[in-house]
Subunit: 424 residues, 2 copies
């Protein structure tokens, strides 16, 4: 095989006809396949079914500190749960809040409270400024962008590479005091699949920001979600403390992709001063979150090691799916010089970088052949991917045979889009 860009016009025309025929054959199969969302597969969900036996009608529902998980109280979470997830984050339990079933909801809530009330150290609520801006490494997570867009926060895209955001750009942009935050998925980034380097973490922790109340929204959604190998990422809270900015980091995580999506527990980490400040704010919105589910998780895992042990099993189930995607890309697309990607060590996604101007076309071709992908532009603020190049592949949810078929369709679509482009 040779690269498409070396093809003659005639060769391209032949290739196009061949691909159109293949594509038509896939259409005739009337497929209904989905690689759109980072949802665990049924086999992964089955791993956590034993958690449902942990609490039953004969259980003592008090934690080891004597708190009855069935009743009101403990706004910051069951002490045992705070300890467990603190261990996982590498911070202290006093720096940890265990919240409801979704870290996304708590992220939204943190931004929403910042708008209405401000954060620790704010001169005024953020909504009192004419404009507030957040830095958004791209490609990034669409739901982070939706929070900003909904709350009227201007998003500034910053290029993300395999090892973190373009720090020269970041350092320059945070000289603007309207820039109040940055969204980061540090480990197995959503969707690029890279990991923040030590340099990137230290640079974010130590940079000078014009806004005194700047916050790093450190969405460590995939902190223990290795697939091929565990890539260590520095502890952002620790680095912020060392750099003299202890209140800069907001850490988020959840068990949504450890136990049950939407029915797990979310957790949050920050300096003790932040935690105390936030405690006062959230006392207006809750008496306590679901401590029964916290207790269920605590007893199911036993310890942070218990979480890691479970993640080994997830990795075993996910690895063949990532293999499938990557093999397809390396076999079908790489030799033809059709697009590029980072080989992720973990997480839930592979980002396919199509030749410029091809992403929307590939997405449409997939859709018309019954393969649903995350919409083009979803990885960028305001759905604006200026290169029309980035597509997110989510291999976790479809069963293996469906995934293989979906990737066949995807690769034909990607090839066809590039050939069409070269023929224009």
């Amino acid at each position: 095989m040779k690269k498409y860009e070396t093809y003659t016009r005639e060769e391209l025309q032949q290739e196009k006809e061949l691909l159109l025929k293949k594509y038509k054959d896939y259409q005739d199969l009337h497929l209904n396949l989905n690689m759109a969302r980072g949802k665990p597969g049924a086999d992964q969900l089955a791993l956590s079914m034993p958690m449902l036996d942990v609490l039953n009608s004969a259980s003592d529902c008090h934690d080891k500190y004597g708190t009855d998980a069935r009743n009101y109280g403990e706004l910051l979470g069951l002490r045992e749960a705070r300890e467990l997830f603190a261990d996982l984050m590498g911070i202290s339990w006093e720096e940890t809040i265990v919240v409801g079933s979704s870290s996304l909801t708590f992220m939204y809530d943190c931004v929403s409270r910042a708008m209405l009330l401000g954060v620790l150290g704010s001169e005024k609520p953020w909504c009192k400024y004419d404009k507030i801006k957040f830095l958004c490494p791209v490609p990034g997570y669409d739901r982070h962008f939706t929070i900003c867009e909904t709350l009227g926060i201007e998003m500034i895209p910053v290029e993300l590479n395999e090892w973190g955001p373009d720090m020269d750009a970041v350092r320059e942009l945070v000289k603007d005091e309207e820039v109040k935050g940055i969204w980061c998925v540090p480990k197995y980034t959503n969707p690029l699949g890279g990991c923040y380097s030590d340099e990137a973490v230290k640079a974010l922790a130590s940079m000078e920001t014009a806004a005194k109340d700047f916050r790093i929204f450190w969405d460590n959604a995939y902190c223990v979600h290795y697939v091929y190998e565990d890539v260590p990422v520095l502890n952002m809270l620790e680095e912020c403390k060392k750099a003299g900015h202890p209140d800069r980091a907001y850490l988020f995580g959840s068990t949504s992709k450890i136990t049950f999506p939407g029915a797990g527990v979310g957790f949050f980490g920050a300096s003790k001063d932040n935690v105390e400040f936030i405690k006062k704010q959230i006392s207006a919105e809750a008496i306590s979150w679901d401590k029964m589910n916290m207790l269920r998780h605590v007893r199911f895992f036993g310890s942070a090691q218990g979480i890691l042990d479970l993640m080994d099993k997830h990795a075993e189930l996910l690895r063949p799916k990532f293999d499938e995607v990557l093999n397809a890309l390396y076999t079908e697309l790489a030799p033809r010089g059709c697009g590029s990607w980072v080989r992720p060590s973990g997480g839930y996604f592979v980002t396919y970088r199509a030749p410029e101007g091809c992403a929307a076309r590939i997405n449409a071709l997939c859709k018309d052949a019954g393969v649903t992908m995350t919409g083009p532009g979803a990885t960028h603020p305001y759905h604006d991917d200026p290169q029309d190049s980035t597509l997110r592949i989510a291999p976790s949810f479809p069963p293996a045979e469906e995934l293989a078929k979906a990737m066949e369709v995807f690769c034909v679509a990607a090839r066809l889009a590039m050939v069409e482009k070269l023929l224009v």
Copy 2:
């Protein structure tokens, strides 16, 4: 026994000495009793322990519409759960959202979103007004007031009697377009214990408000929580529709005092247009809430009738506690003309109206004898009870013998405070 106000000064002095001696005896017992919060007792929590067996590792976790409760999806809640709580509220499932584990959190969220984004029909987000005001029937629920205070919403107290708020005052106040909402606990009001009459419901639904986007926050926390007898209260959503203001009502409820406080499910009811509008807003803050807990509740109850059956058992456990409180009041305080109260038909509270200027003193006396009550002023916006008269008694949590002792102390404190006042 005769009324204190008929006592001679000498009789009052003797009574004071007698009461001081009794009070000292209670202090010597070094009690540690709590009538502060509306928490279910351990015997009530035990009623819902079988719910923990409903989902186990062998369970099929799909609802009858095929949704896997273990995975992402269904932002407005599991369909079966929406149907169940719709039935309970007497509305349709399309008008119902089942949320996380706390209706309070969703109330806060509704007000917070109104501030940041506005509600259906708003000209602009409420935070863009110079001032926003809410009407607060008093005595009322402290956490409603905390939401307003935290978000900078001015609270205007309106007198609440056994059958609802002073509607003449309400009708006058809503002529101010800065008045955007009213907090109501319609059934077994927190803490007065009354129920909104049909007239009150219809008047609230039909009144003309200057604000086109006025909302009634109808916190029906005790909708099925009868203790002595079920008092029917009109369906506010229905009445708002009839009156031509279909979008005015926001209904809230939860299973916090049906199954487990903080670990139950919250629900919300409103017009379909409101639900569609809110769906767009909350899509920024959640993918879905805990559907596993929804499924657990759906299968435990079976139907709305199943909820009512469970509430019969709660009532059996609560009735002796309310008896204890009311007997103490009627035996010790009524004959002495010491304060007044409404005999509640249900709910979680008895409101004691002390002689003017005595509430804080009674509270302090109780505290110094080891009996914790809800702080004085908690029933009023800004903790400002101008008559210093209202105290909330929460009988549910302490075991029977502790409650009896706590009420002894309370009655001695109430008598002593009144006698002291008459002696001044």
